[in-house]
């Protein structure tokens, strides 16, 4: 396999990187952290550049590219700790509509995503559990509408306002992967609680659905529809890989920042990066970063080419990124010394972003457990 960017892919990355250098400088990120700014003009620019429609088919107004291109953008967004609705809209909402819904939903929602008119997110997790089988939110059919009741946690929002939400719910009395369905509801129709989070560029809300009525045209997949479990798996893979890619981008920034600092910071008359104790730590950090990056790209490729290894590749990527962020955030802060401990330095934006991706769509530990399960290591009979 060819696991390096083609010329076109490298051009896209360079282009995205230079746009973000100008439009998402640390000062913008700081303004989000300090509550004095928002992501609106950044999002507007992404829309002007057609980024939301990268992977949406051309007939629906998108650019018709694939998951590799989405992955490239997402990694770059992670590098600069970009705020805004790209991640939930492009890597959660759009795949959910695409995989779970029908043509009429695609025409209605995906073309609006491509044109930048619509932002959205995915409400799946409940009480910290990301597997669809753990969904308890109930959908009842009454008259010609469905009514949803339940609670969703850790929905990635993209403040200030969101338009639409895909909600996964199940028919009453069903269990496991049976009876699952998906609905699109207006953000405004649910009761949301914005959580106070350490990284405001990944804003999380908890959602309460209190007998929310959903008309027929907003039912992506009726509860119990046969395609739902497989379609949800695809959605989860894309969303999970995106969080992993974003985090690996953030980790690369921490790494570069720390490496640059070690080359210029002098003590005992020489750069601290010339001490072997630090050199070997940098070698380990680099290894951890490349290990995670390679697995993320592999996961992105298996998704783009619909390879049967995709499910496992995503867990490998998320697990490796978990190892990477743990080491990178810790050594990144430690090796910056006191300066990295200050609010004034930009490092903490990166550190917080690197940490906050881990719990989304299954922690590293969750994915390690899944790998163990899939390799038959958990069903041991003594």
């Amino acid at each position: 396999m060819d696991l390096e960017f083609s010329t076109e892919e490298a051009e896209l990355r360079d282009n995205v990187r230079s746009v973000l250098a100008a439009s998402c400088p640390p000062s913008l990120v700081r303004s989000i952290f300090e509550g004095s700014g928002d992501a609106e003009s950044l999002w507007k620019q992404m829309v002007d550049l057609y980024w939301p429609g990268l992977a949406i088919p051309e007939p629906l107004g998108g650019l018709g590219m694939g998951y590799v291109e989405v992955a490239i953008v997402v990694e770059e967004l992670g590098r600069v700790v970009a705020p805004g609705p790209f991640l939930p809209t492009v890597t959660q909402f759009a795949p959910a509509v695409r995989s779970l819904g029908e043509d009429r939903h695609h025409e209605h929602f995906l073309s609006a995503v491509a044109s930048g008119e619509l932002t959205g997110s995915l409400a799946l997790a409940e009480e910290g559990a990301w597997e669809p089988a753990a969904v308890r939110t109930v959908a009842r059919h009454t008259g010609d509408a469905w009514r949803l009741s339940g609670s969703k946690s850790s929905v990635l929002s993209g403040a200030p306002a969101f338009d639409e939400l895909v909600v996964v719910a199940r028919a009453e009395g069903t269990h496991g992967l049976d009876g699952l369905g998906a609905f699109v509801i207006p953000w405004a129709s649910v009761e949301t609680t914005s959580r106070r989070v350490i990284d405001p560029t990944l804003p999380l809300v908890d959602v309460r659905l209190d007998d929310v009525e959903v008309p027929e045209e907003r039912v992506l997949a009726a509860p119990g529809a046969e395609h739902v479990p497989a379609a949800l798996a695809v959605v989860l893979e894309e969303a999970t890989a995106a969080v992993a890619l974003s985090t690996v981008g953030t980790c690369r920034s921490i790494f570069e920042s720390t490496l640059d600092y070690a080359k210029v910071r002098e003590q005992y008359g020489r750069p601290i990066g010339s001490f072997q104790a630090l050199k070997h730590r940098f070698a380990d950090l680099y290894l951890s970063l490349e290990r995670a990056t390679s697995l993320c790209y592999f996961a992105a490729l298996t998704i783009a080419e619909d390879d049967p290894r995709r499910s496992e590749a995503v867990s490998l990527a998320k697990a490796a990124v978990g190892d990477c962020q743990r080491l990178m955030a810790q050594d990144g802060l430690q090796l910056h010394g006191g300066i990295g401990f200050t609010w004034e330095n930009d490092l903490h934006f990166l550190l917080k972003r690197a940490k906050c991706g881990d719990p989304l769509f299954g922690s590293a530990a969750w994915h390690r457990g899944r790998l163990a399960e899939q390799h038959g290591l958990l069903e041991v009979s003594a």
Binding site: D2, F5, A262, R270, Y286, E305, L316, L371, E379
Partner: protein
């Protein structure tokens, strides 16, 4: 990025696989007469090398007169993948084929190529690499084995150590000091020394596992006289050859480590259910997570290798190979340790040990000890980390 290299490469792969199936030595042939060291060429290996040479499958990246077919890097990678997958040893003299012969093609004269390099490619002669010394390991340039010019001869005195295959090699590609007054990198030359010469004593070093089939040796040179024509390249220019390896394949040495790692991890996963059942329930969770770590490492190593290779094909640099060397050898070590501990109270039992070609390499604990051969030799993990820090990451030297 693509998961496949495309239809033409697939066709190349099929062609090689079918040739391999028809021409490979059988497992029985190999098992009856396994190579006794990394410079021993059993009869089947002689025939096999010759067959590959004649068919242009010995070093595909080389021209036909050197046993190749002018294949590109992607084809060469595919060739190595299939060779490893089939578990056929490509050579029983890896240093000869991988380092000595290519260095001679780059630096040797016609006679040296005819008498030393070509016989390696034809399976007729084997070579060892005389590099490390008691006082020159990681700091190889400090080597002190002396070669003094005396008329039309060189007189060699000194000692080498950790010389793989010296106990069976036909000749040695020997690094020695020809100018003790020059800065240490600049006074080194390479000379070809037939191992039968008078004054050479080879003393095999039994290793911590399988002491009965040693591959490493001490080699003593006591007034060994060699024709001056056996100097390779210019006098005092030996250091240029110290990093020398098969240039066409430099970006691919990781492949066999990765495939070895994958093979071991699948063996580990295969053994795991029964072994876990023998452990107590509160022990299992801890061990399971370490097995998962090893599995992730094996998959990451594969992806890292392909990524480095893709960079190399696009004209990237080779130092990233240091990353692969450290990662693969350390992953192998950790995997063997996890596997050994997984066997619980059976861990101390010795396993089957038959040969050096990858079959019956002993118990997991024996392999764990054996894996240090990887993390210590050919530039220890610590040296690899220095290389990564300085050459890849640009951190200043002390």
């Amino acid at each position: 990025m693509k998961l496949s290299f495309g239809p033409e490469v697939d066709q190349f792969r099929r062609e090689f696989v079918s040739w391999l199936e028809e021409n490979r030595p059988t497992d029985e042939e190999i098992a009856v007469d396994p190579p006794r060291s990394s410079a021993d060429i059993p009869e089947w290996a002689r025939r096999w090398t010759r067959r590959m040479f004649d068919a242009g499958w010995l070093v595909p990246g080389w021209p036909p007169e050197r046993g190749g077919r002018n294949a590109g890097p992607v084809e060469t990678l595919v060739y190595l993948e299939e060779m490893t997958k089939a578990r056929v040893p490509r050579t029983t003299n890896p240093q000869g084929l991988g380092i000595v012969a290519p260095s001679l093609f780059d630096y040797g004269d016609e006679r040296q190529i005819r008498e030393y390099a070509m016989p390696i490619l034809l399976g007729e002669r084997s070579a060892c690499l005389g590099m490390s010394e008691p006082g020159a390991g990681s700091d190889l340039a400090s080597l002190s084995t002396r070669a003094v010019i005396d008329g039309d001869e060189l007189v060699i005195n000194g000692q080498k150590v950790w010389t793989s295959g010296a106990n069976y090699a036909d000749f040695c590609f020997l690094f020695c000091r020809t100018d003790p007054n020059a800065p240490k990198h600049k006074g080194i030359s390479v000379v070809l020394v037939d191992m039968q010469r008078e004054g050479i004593t080879v003393r095999p070093l039994a290793e911590i596992v399988h002491p009965d089939r040693p591959d490493l040796n001490e080699v003593f040179f006591d007034d060994v006289r060699v024709p001056i024509d056996n100097l390779v390249g210019e006098v005092n220019n030996g250091w240029a050859m110290a990093g020398g390896s098969l240039a066409h394949e430099r970006g691919m040495v990781w492949l066999s480590s990765v495939m070895g790692l994958e093979e071991n991890v699948s063996r580990l996963l295969g053994e795991a259910p029964d072994a876990l059942a023998r452990l107590s329930p509160h022990e299992r969770g801890v061990v399971v997570d370490r097995i998962v770590s090893s599995y992730i490492d094996s998959q990451a190593a594969r992806c890292l290798g392909y990524r480095g290779f893709a960079k190399l094909v696009r004209g990237g640099s080779a130092p990233e190979q240091a990353l692969m060397k450290a990662f693969c050898t350390e992953s192998q070590r950790e995997l063997s340790l996890v596997a050994a501990e997984l066997t619980g109270d059976r861990a101390p039992d010795l396993g089957d040990s038959t040969d050096r070609t990858g079959r019956g390499e002993g118990s997991w604990l024996e392999r764990y000890f054996g894996s240090f051969g990887g993390t210590i030799s050919a530039g220890s993990s610590e040296i690899q980390r220095n290389i990564i820090a300085e050459r890849v990451l640009g951190l200043p030297r002390a």
